[in-house]
Symmetry: C2
Subunit: 359 residues, 2 copies
């Protein structure tokens, strides 16, 4: 039995208590300052209000002020905050982590500095942790197609645990792996995290075509825009591959679960797809987001980060101006509220190029 | 203006008359022996009964017995038959083709010999054509995500025209390319055709999880099997890549439109997905196919061809026994009517391998 503390009681972090409890681990679930009602509910009835399910008996809920108690004796920390909360979570870890713990994160996104240099979120998470502790902690992340509720009800799920240290990935995989939660490992931390982040951009894009149809008054048309949607998916796949390469990852990481797999499931629905749908209908991003109650939109967030970084990287000669035409256009749409006008001829290396080239 | 004869008046061949007519070409549409009623309808009213649309005015319909007249002076032949009809179509071309014509095919599948050697369908199509003509004809194929009806109503569609000869691909692309039918070219004829064929196998697989849910009495469950479906998609992507490599194609062809793009759109629906859905519910393949009226099922056909070839290739030491676990299981389900039991731990190079490996 291993003691695992989950920091952040959103649906994904909380759902992962299920495979952990199936393996008999001791689980402490700590809410963030936004999670007070979730923890109250788990304390009162065991039910997670987001998942609408009773969490396993072994889960002990803690409010944030009791985090030190929750971390006492814990060997593993699952960082369950999303990309908006990573810096905050890092600040908590700075006071709560001890050397020799393992940290596994679920946040999906990228961060950029003023020069447009992009980096993966586990680096942002680790940054506030004092260097002597940070160096002795094993850092990892979960990527791959994983809808939280399906994990919580033990539907088959295949994920990749990525860490620079194979031993860290293996130890974590052993803790989580069950007969329905299937875990592979990878030492391509950068590649896996880049895919996890970028796929949210393209999932938002996948909502556009249905919205465009609705906007044309063809919401019930026999012939949809599936070819359109599939072309965006394919272009997104190429851009994910290129971004992995650009940030120094192993491009083969983008062949399976972290890129096409995760992008496929994320394109099946959710808030990013819904906001894409509203934008397709003609709403500006701000209006579309407001209509959904201004939820967390990791896809829009990633589009803004990457879309602002790319021109800087191009100006510095690091990225060709013809590269990433889809995510650049998504930034025009989401960040600058320009209308959707797909630059088809710039996709797939350029329509009138002699042969297919990457991105 | 170029004269184009379309051999086979199914929905895809007929839909391609739209971009051709938009470019002002002369189009002769020849029905196969199965298409008599389609041609009668086009002759009488202009309406294609499968597409439920009026074809462009320029399209001249011909019954099969008038094929020689239709081929008279034609420079291009679009072979519009599906994978079941390729050998038959080749026999027609043997008498109808003239040297210096270009042939572009839409059939998606693979053929195998008794030793399990796989080859692409354009080779089967060309085989009956006398060698002196065959050598002087330019052969090509269309791959990528392309639902026929969407092409016919001019919804944006991105495809790849593949040919061993760049000039052939370029000439054909110029004939078809419009402001909504976007055409890229590739000289990786083998790689593009392998993706086109294999993706139908995985599209059938994508129907299984919803069927499994329905079979468990959970057709309306809040939590679906999307993680399951996405994992199959990812594994399918890896197997497509490996098959491209095995048959001597360029694996980068599997990065964009021909593999994830086409597999994405094919997984959105259609007969292959429906038969997968019924199998997931517990029906044997024969029963499931009968329930749908025994339609053309290119996915099932491809699964049978590949599923029978793989053990032979493994016995000959060409393919590892651990390779292609998904399509091998699909063959057990479709070809041998065994129950669905996903070999998860064999996917992605093996769950307990040290790190992610290809297939």
């Amino acid at each position: 039995m291993t003691s695992v503390v989950i920091l952040g009681s959103g649906i994904m972090g909380s759902a992962l208590a299920v495979p952990l409890s199936d393996n008999g681990h001791d689980i402490r679930l700590v809410g963030t300052f936004l999670d007070r009602e979730i923890i109250d509910s788990v304390k009162a009835t065991g039910v997670h209000p987001g998942l609408k399910l009773k969490l396993p008996e072994q889960v002990r809920p803690y409010q944030l002020e009791d985090a030190e108690e929750a971390f006492d004796g814990a060997e593993i920390c699952l960082s369950g905050v999303n990309s908006y909360g990573v810096r905050w979570a890092g600040e908590q870890l700075a006071r709560l982590l001890r050397a020799d713990m393992l940290v596994i994160s679920i946040a999906k996104g990228l961060a950029a500095d003023d020069e447009g240099n992009l980096r993966i979120l586990p680096e942002v998470l680790a940054e506030p942790v004092p260097s002597q502790v940070r160096a002795r902690v094993g850092w990892a992340a979960i990527t791959g197609p994983s809808i939280a509720g399906e994990v919580a009800v033990r539907h088959d799920t295949c994920v990749v645990f990525a860490s620079r240290d194979q031993d860290v990935a293996d130890r974590l995989a052993d803790l989580f792996r069950t007969s329905s939660y299937h875990v592979w490992t990878s030492t391509d931390f950068v590649g896996a995290e880049v895919c996890a982040a970028m796929k949210n951009c393209y999932a938002l894009a996948s909502g556009l075509p249905e919205g465009l149809l609705a906007g044309m008054g063809e919401a019930d048309a026999a012939y949809r825009l599936y070819n359109y949607e599939a072309a965006l998916f394919a272009q997104g796949n190429l851009e994910m591959r290129r971004m992995v390469e650009l940030l120094g990852g192993d491009v083969s990481t983008a062949d399976g679960l972290p890129a096409p797999g995760d992008c496929y499931v994320t394109s099946r629905g959710g808030r990013n797809v819904k906001v894409g749908h509203l934008i397709g209908q003609g709403l500006g991003f701000t209006e579309a987001s407001a209509k959904l109650g201004n939820p967390t939109l990791e896809g829009a967030f990633a589009i803004e980060v990457v879309g602002r970084a790319l021109p800087k990287l191009t100006e510095r000669g690091i990225v060709g101006h013809e590269e990433f035409p889809l995510v650049r256009h998504l930034y025009e749409v989401v960040g600058e509220e320009k209308p959707v006008e797909m630059p088809w001829s710039r996709f797939f290396g350029g329509e009138r190029q002699a042969a297919i080239a990457s991105t």
